[in-house]
Point group: C2
Chain length 466, copies 2
Amino acid sequence: MTVSGSVLAGLSEAVIDEFTAIVGPAHVLVGEDLTAPFQTDWTRRWSGPCGAVLRPADRDQVSRILRACHARGLSVVPQGGNTGLVGGSVPRAGGSDIVLSLTRLDHLGEVDRTAGQVDAGAGVTLARLQAAAAIAGYGAGMDLGARDSATVGGLAACNAGGLRTVRDGTARQRITGIEAVLADGSVIRRMSGLVKDTAGYDLPGLLIGSEGTLGVITEVRWRLVPERPARATALVRLDSVTEAESVAAALRDALPSLELLELMTEAGIALTLEHLGASAPLPVTAAWLLVECAARTSPADELIDALEALDLAERTVMAPGATGRRQMLRIRESHTDAVSRAGTPHKFDVGIPIGRLASFVEAATATSRRIAPGSQFIVWGHLGDGNLHVNVLGAPPDEERLDAAMLALTAAHDGTISAEHGIGVHKPAYLSLVRSDADRAAMAAIKAALDPGGILNPGVIFGTAA
Amino acid sequence: MTVSGSVLAGLSEAVIDEFTAIVGPAHVLVGEDLTAPFQTDWTRRWSGPCGAVLRPADRDQVSRILRACHARGLSVVPQGGNTGLVGGSVPRAGGSDIVLSLTRLDHLGEVDRTAGQVDAGAGVTLARLQAAAAIAGYGAGMDLGARDSATVGGLAACNAGGLRTVRDGTARQRITGIEAVLADGSVIRRMSGLVKDTAGYDLPGLLIGSEGTLGVITEVRWRLVPERPARATALVRLDSVTEAESVAAALRDALPSLELLELMTEAGIALTLEHLGASAPLPVTAAWLLVECAARTSPADELIDALEALDLAERTVMAPGATGRRQMLRIRESHTDAVSRAGTPHKFDVGIPIGRLASFVEAATATSRRIAPGSQFIVWGHLGDGNLHVNVLGAPPDEERLDAAMLALTAAHDGTISAEHGIGVHKPAYLSLVRSDADRAAMAAIKAALDPGGILNPGVIFGTAA
């Protein structure tokens, strides 16, 4: 550990000593021990120096750290797997931020089979939670690409979604209990796992999705879902996003076993198949719907019945076995990589009310062509919950008019500028598009009430002016 | 309209004039026009005089009223169908409270079939919402005994549950959008119905369950559920609550179509059958489980398979048709009436972690016998979500040691003192049993941040000291 005033950029030796007394010298990283993973996020777009990385071992250490930071007015950036996409978990002030890495809080309890729930420390990765659930005959009820790094604390803080929310919801629906440390070091703990509890305000629900600005989540109680080993998977060829939208609504109402309802479109499929070096097993069409049902026993008949009732059987390819299923999912999951390989996209994570998706896609395509002529517009996403991932390739990276126009268009469609990635430090300037003055004033009042010193993740959600 | 100083108990003519200008003379009730339904709640236990009842027609009138009350420091008690059980919607100060009746905000939108959602004003009753949903081929995903009077605004404010939460959740899971007026008259509106939206704090989720202390909910967007016309209903005879608890967990994991999982016990069944004048079609046993599955096509085979796998087929009575089904449900639903007829019970609406229910019931039985010898202990409830309705008959109504001991026992089992009825003015004194100092301090800070004058439903949740 190298400690020197210049390296510490504002943190005095006394402060470092105080932290060292709390977490031990091996878990205070400063100077040369500070490595990029703590200071740069998943996108590599957000990066900044910090004063120190602290790696507490437990809730009490987190509490003592926050009490010290609260007393000294030091900013704290809570960090889990650091897989966020909006710069919400990396330092940004002039090098004095404390990064609070929660990965050592990785205690995973035994699965409580009677309740169908499990306690997990903030640092437990989603993949580990999934594996523990599977051994006990359950599923986690959540999956996303960053599963090996993303931690349950981060999933909670950002109200993560992913591919399967159409059935099992976002983190807010999966989490029945939370332990969190507030800015002043006080601890809130509601870990009984009650799914019905009206004794006062829903603080767990408020902390979920608050992106580390109201408290540091140290443990959660996660509600598992019954195992659903039998799956039926299909790709349905559709003539337009409009048709995909109405078919999606019909399938949602018809299929209780529906678990995946993903939209892919022409440009994205073409780029992805090229990226995968796969010979296209699919005719090119305007829109594909990837549908998966999951149950204890095969839901294939149910899915086929629903598709026949919609007169779509002739336009459907079904996966006959596990290999075919993996291929279908791979095409959808490889979209992000394919786009990244092809250039530096402008990325938007929007949510649009179901019923207005097709109209949004049409307008967004025209908007991107107008502002960035020659650019390529690629959209895919979770049709079941209205969450579209919009990518524009070939526009200059610093073309802010594109960002502004696309998010304004989202707002004009009554949508949200962030369906599942959060606001972070990327989108505070656009928050007023979707949250009124009264709404933002209420949020700021809550922030000030719970973190009067403004030490928790400053800049996130509210921007630097908050 | 009779206006006089003595009747108005503190409200000046100038104030009444101001309200009259907002809502019109027909909708300011004072003096002799004030009738009991506005001042007394469903239980008849909570009652108090108020200064005036105001019946606004729309959101803007609500906003103007609150702005006036905020400026003058007048307390406001929001009221929907007034079917609460904890005194949260009736006046209690010395006659100066304003009762804000929301029943005229009864606009019900057309069902949006693409989204599977509908907009409903705060004053729309649950029964009306259910009927509109049914016509469009949907269900409301919620049902409870007070359906004809309870309004969606009240269901939201109290995070109502009911019989079918094991599948469709409480109000918080059903509501995708909220419009609310805050204490200063400012309006928060998020009505796009997005099921994934991470742009800032979850204010709708915070308002839901806040019992009118943070804002007045004026409209909600309600997420419907697909129609499930085919039902399979069974009564399963079990030897103990312990056995019922483990069978309930197994059925929850095995039956995706499970919609009802209700516990009844010996004393309650006997009292109810006597009340109904029904000759018992059922042998007396320690515990009965009422199970119902619902789907598009008959889920009977699925239910029978699950019961056979648990070796319970011989102990099960199934309803062969609609009449039998109604009889089974009637026994469960008549428990409340049967108990009320038999005396004035001490009632507890507790939530206990699944896995500790049987242990709680055993200890609670012993506790009630110890404190009130000769009393009768009757329990039933929603086993799927751990919500038990505990009734003690034959104890003196003012025996507060019983209340204190029962709620302390609940807390000792990691339970909640209110699963679905709320805290109201009935239980603030007991809130510290289940919410730590830090938790209550955080709630109070949020309350002070959003309602600095403390005008919204004073006394509720926090008690008179707040």
